[in-house]
């Protein structure tokens, strides 16, 4: 009995520490610079396409064996969860932006479709990539090739959340639990509408 009480007390004490943080809301919205991306299958991504919908942007690269497919799979599940929580026009659009245009330009358009038919993937000029990376306080670095010619690309693990007014509002963080991430996004949208009204 004593042990049980001790265990329950430990559970209560440990709960806030073990609770996962799925996202961070920015103190102030951040304006994004002009940018323009295409993907070879007729889709475009620019400041205009951000308007009037929520957008989630993940930076990555196609030769990414583990983290990128894992994150995209979790974002797909998150979007499914959002569909249960918000109006269809508030379900975020998911964009994958490759920071490795040299290897990825040819294949980029179909990558995101593998995870969800509505997801979009783009790459483009390094200037535009770098502008968006900087504005979202993100990071990437092309590593030196190994003996087989493969090079890794390090990139921010967090994902940017852009509001319907085109400003950056939050970052999503690993482990991207779909239910908790959807809950975070839903609360973010409620706060956004409250601030706008």
């Amino acid at each position: 009995m004593k042990q049980l009480v001790a265990f329950l007390l430990w559970m209560i004490a440990a709960a806030p520490v073990t609770a996962q943080v799925q996202g961070v809301k920015l103190d102030e919205p951040v304006e994004l610079p002009a940018f323009a991306f295409e993907n070879g299958i007729g889709e475009t991504f620019n400041a205009g396409t951000l308007q009037d919908q929520w957008t989630i942007v993940m930076f990555g690269f196609l030769s990414c064996p583990d983290v990128c497919p894992f994150t995209m799979g979790n974002l797909e599940a998150t979007i499914a969860e959002m569909g249960l929580r918000v109006r269809p026009d508030n379900v975020p659009k998911v964009v994958f932006l490759s920071v490795d245009p040299d290897r990825d330009a040819e294949l980029i358009g179909t990558y995101a479709k593998f995870f969800h038919p509505d997801f979009q993937s783009f790459t483009g000029d390094r200037t535009d990539i770098d502008a968006l990376i900087e504005a979202t306080d993100s990071f990437y670095r092309l590593m030196a090739p190994d003996e087989d010619g493969y090079y890794e690309v390090q990139h921010s693990s967090s994902v940017s959340v852009i509001a319907p007014d085109g400003t950056l509002r939050a970052k999503l963080q690993p482990p991207f639990d779909p239910g908790l991430t959807a809950e975070f996004l839903t609360q973010l949208q409620i706060q956004y509408r409250r601030e706008a009204s």
Binding site: L62, D66, A80, F115, Y150, D177
Partner: protein
């Protein structure tokens, strides 16, 4: 009768691991996006033996290369490092899973569809090899 039965069992499970202390379970190759030249395999390894074993390499049939890798989040940056030797103590179970340790598969000879199988050969420091068959599956996610 008994030896015959044993022989029959052995014939049914050519990769039965009586001679080896490492068992591999839950092997899977998640279906990869079309055209992607680099993806991953995952599995769980259990050392049922008395001594530790060190996994030093892997080969994957149908791929130009396969490497033991580990994904790590370093201050918000997703990075990968090569595992040069993974020690598995007696009785220990190690799990290769998404967002952590993985077998990086590079340059498939042909695209693999769901239901295909990838033959993996795990190489250990003592010269042992363990054969594992990993089915290609589309992974589901969700809470």
């Amino acid at each position: 009768m008994k030896p015959v039965l044993m022989g029959l069992v052995a014939a049914c499970f050519p990769a039965a691991l009586w001679a080896q202390d490492i068992t591999a379970t839950e092997a899977v190759v998640p279906l990869a996006p079309p055209g992607v030249m680099t993806h991953a395999a995952y599995l769980t390894l259990h050392n049922t033996g008395q001594g530790s074993r060190t996994l030093i390499g892997v080969q994957a049939a149908g791929y130009a290369m396969a490497h033991l890798h580990s994904s790590e989040d370093k201050n918000g940056v997703a990075t990968m490092s090569v595992l040069h030797g993974l020690e598995i103590d007696a009785g220990q179970t190690v799990t290769f899973e998404q967002g952590g340790m993985h077998i990086m598969l590079m340059h498939p000879a042909a695209p693999l569809s769901e239901g295909a199988e990838v033959a993996l050969t795990l190489q250990f420091a003592n010269g042992e090899t363990v054969e594992v068959t990993a089915p290609v599956k589309r992974l589901g996610y969700g809470s």
